[in-house]
Amino acid sequence: MRILQFSLTCLLSIISVPFIWASSKEQLFYDAVRFEATGNIDQAIENYEKILDQASSANLHGNLANLYYKNSDYGRSILHYRKALLLDGNNREFLSNLSFVCRKANLENTDPPKNNFFDGFSINFWKGLLVFFLWFGLLLISFLFFLRTTNRSIIFACLAWAGAITLLTFVVFDFTRHENLTESQVIALLDRKQGDDNASATIPLRRFAASSSTANASVRAGESLFVDQSQLEGYQSHQGPNSQNWLLVRTADNLKKGWVRQDEVGWILKN
């Protein structure tokens, strides 16, 4: 009986956790909107950032990006628009806002290398389509075989099926490659204290993973960078003194490369 009671209590506790969690994050969101409405931008940002520890939503990133823009922190604004677009890729407001902020930050294009081929659908759509064609083709061929159709018809169906499968496999492969690129993508960010003159401030790409190192080049806040993959596993990183993490990054055109502190960049795919 006691075990039953204990189990029920545990079960109820576990069930109730998501509800408590959900209500708290929604409350924080509404409070943040309220703070913004009363002009308390910093408090609103703080609230949104608190929610990010729990979950994220397209609107949350969109609102946060708006607030960073209002605070002239273009790097973080771009970062959060990019995050918002990951969750709601077709949102015209986010796309317009991102373009506007990029122009304001004197950035030509901070977009990820776009997947122009069959763009507009998610990778899951293409994967689903690939599986559908795979099985549809196999079913059709086996059905023709069952109907004792002529070999010529079966061979024709096989060829058409193989062609479609090859094409779709290429699309899925292309999307996966693009996804991997996004995974390694970061946005250059300025120190929060430096936010006043964002458009002209830059982030140095250092020769070595040390603050005292001279810079190879520099990038503007909001610019897209890609973290180099390590030959072993993960990304090219270095643990410096004072537990500072350094990442080896390069620009999309590979013209600039160097080390940045982890807090000088924001991962697009990580909360």
Binding site: A55, N59, L87, N124, S142, R148
Partner: protein
């Protein structure tokens, strides 16, 4: 003389004084039943107390019809000082078992003490039915601890929140250890606030000639439906009771001299059910926007800023102040329109959150202007029912003007190289207002990484269906194809054998029939959609011609078929036929056909 000797002398002197005093004390006799009221199923004690002596009295206890009194009393002697005065007494306890209900009196009787005769006063016992006795006990208990719930009016309205207080009276002599729980409401006709710890406590409150301590809880009751409804409250007290069987609930335990010692028991105090008339709200003159507010209120609307930019949120605060059923008042309806995107309202109450009957209720809306200009916020009217005046009232909201400045807009950049700009063309043409704040969070995601379709259980489960279909069609097709080929082979062999036999027996009709069937079989592979086995000679020739065979072969087949038809139907002569040559020709034709 030593000090020890002096102390001894003083002790002897004191004892002498005590003995003299005691002897000088007059003898007094008392008699009573303890308890004096019992049910006919329980026992009581007839107690005779003789003050001023410790000698056993001599006497004969009179018999009382209806009472069985023990002849073997328990005697107790005691000696003590009360305010410096020595006192001795002897107590005789006779066990009494009542045999029926009624009032019984043990008449006065005489006892001999120290050679003198004394009169024992009469004593009366009330024997009640068990229910009567219980009622009596309850009556006593009701006076020991009771609840009180006053109402200011004789009737209320459906949905009205009635503010009152529940008071627990505890008689000072009732040995209450603690109040076990907050009072609990009985009955579903009213909803009530949660009663936690009492909010007021008073001592020495006089009621019914007794002194009480009182504990008060504020109560907000809301009638759920119209009609005459009952309500009651109950609360449990933890009291100390005598360990004796007949205490405290079968008798008024507070008369017990051993009161305050023994075990703890729970005592339930219940408010006698109160009937309250609940009237339905009048339907006459009810405003269309009335949403259930009952009380007396004031309302006003305000915004935080009068000048903002398109897309910037602004707070609209609609507050209702006064007394009434705040808990039942919904937020006013304010929907998004072309001018404003409006988020869900936030409820903020200033006052006692538990009772919510008096204070200020704020409804905060976040309005995001969608276009520039001098915009007017829809006035918020508020209707309520005043239960004192028994009529509906409407507070007309004030009109709020908001000057919205145009925000930044997306304008297509001049001379932009479209190949470099990866923005979709429809976005570039957009002139949407920028940086608009979303007033709701939308769908929550635990990760920014899109969830891979392969991680979905159903993705793999659904593939079982086409896999099963493919395997089924493949296997069945394989089996079917093999059967068809085998049948074809056997049939062909049979026909070939028949052809040879007919040639050996020089049977032209059978020979040509076999040839015709073999030809039909061979050409059946060419088009499986047509049943070639049912073809006549002419149809067969036409079909062969359609299949674009060699012309010589077609001629040879046609010749053979005509020859066979001639022999079978025109009865031509078969004497000149060379079956050896015919068999060779047939063999060549069939080879070419396959």
């Amino acid at each position: 003389m030593s000090i020890k000797t002096i102390l001894h002398l003083l002790l002897i002197f004191s004892l002498g004084v005590i003995a003299q005093k005691t002897l000088a004390q007059s003898i007094r006799v008392e008699a009573n039943f303890t308890p004096s009221s019992v049910s006919n199923t329980s026992r009581t004690v007839y107690k005779v107390v003789i003050h001023g002596t410790q000698q056993n009295p001599q006497g004969s206890l009179p018999q009382v019809p209806g009472l069985r009194i023990s002849n073997n009393p328990q005697s107790l002697r005691s000696a003590n000082f009360i305010n410096g005065v020595p006192s001795v007494r002897v107590e005789l306890n006779f066990q009494v078992q009542p045999q029926r209900t009624g009032n019984f009196t043990v008449p006065a009787w005489k006892v001999m003490i120290e050679g003198k005769s004394y009169q024992v006063p009469p004593a009366t016992l009330q024997v009640l039915d068990p229910s009567q006795q219980e009622k009596q006990a309850h009556q006593d208990l009701r006076q020991a601890a009771f609840l009180e719930l006053p109402f200011s009016r004789s009737y209320f309205f459906e949905g009205e929140t009635i503010m009152t207080s529940l008071t627990l009276f505890i008689w000072d002599r009732l040995p209450v250890n603690r109040i076990e729980n907050a009072p609990t409401k009985i009955g579903e006709s009213f909803s009530s606030n949660n009663l936690g710890k009492w909010t007021a406590e008073k001592r020495n409150v006089s009621r019914n000639g007794k002194i009480y301590s009182t504990f008060t809880w504020p109560v907000a009751l809301t009638a759920a439906m119209a009609g005459t409804k009952e309500i009651s409250f109950t609360v449990n007290l933890r009291v100390r009771v005598n360990s004796r069987k007949n205490s405290p609930f079968s008798s008024p335990f507070f008369n017990d001299p051993f009161f305050g010692f023994g075990r703890e028991e729970s005592l339930t105090v219940e408010l006698p059910r109160k009937s309250i008339e609940i009237k339905p709200l009048p339907s006459a003159n009810r405003s269309s926007d009335y949403s259930g507010a009952i009380g007396n209120f004031r309302a006003q609307s305000s915004v935080d800023a009068n000048q903002i930019e398109v897309g910037d949120p602004v707070r609209l605060n609609f507050s209702i102040e006064g007394k009434g059923n705040f808990a039942a008042i919904p937020a006013p309806i304010l929907e998004s329109n072309e001018e404003f995107k409006i988020g869900p309202p936030a409820f903020l109450f200033e006052g006692n959150e538990e009772i919510k009957s008096e204070g200020r209720q704020n409804f905060e809306f976040i309005l995001t202007p969608q276009k520039a200009g001098n915009l007017k916020i829809t006035p918020l009217n508020f209707s309520y029912f005043d239960p004192i005046q028994e009529k509906y009232s409407t507070i007309i909201g004030n009109e709020i003007n908001l000057f919205v400045k145009p925000g930044e807009k997306w304008i297509e950049p001049p001379n932009q190289n479209k190949s470099q700009n990866s923005m979709p063309s429809n976005i570039a043409m957009s002139t949407n207002d920028l940086f608009q704040t979303a007033s709701d969070p939308g769908i929550w995601h635990s990760s920014l990484q899109p969830k891979s379709i392969e991680s979905n259980y159903w993705f793999w489960t659904f593939q079982i269906l086409p896999l099963s279909g493919t395997l089924a069609f493949g296997l069945l097709g394989w089996k079917r194809r093999n059967k068809f080929n085998e049948d074809f082979r056997i049939k062909k062999a049979n026909l070939s054998r028949k052809l040879n036999e007919n040639a050996d027996h020089r049977d032209p009709t059978g020979f040509f029939r076999a040839f015709k069937d073999l030809t039909r079989m061979q050409i059946s592979k060419k088009d499986k959609s047509r049943n070639t086995f049912a073809f006549s000679s002419d149809e067969l020739i036409t079909f062969i011609k359609e299949q674009k065979f060699d012309k010589n072969l077609i001629i040879e087949i046609e010749e053979m078929l005509r020859l066979g038809d001639g022999l079978e139907f025109a009865e031509s002569s078969s004497q000149e036929l060379d079956f050896k040559d015919l068999r060779r020709k047939v063999s060549e034709i069939l080879k070419k056909l396959s």
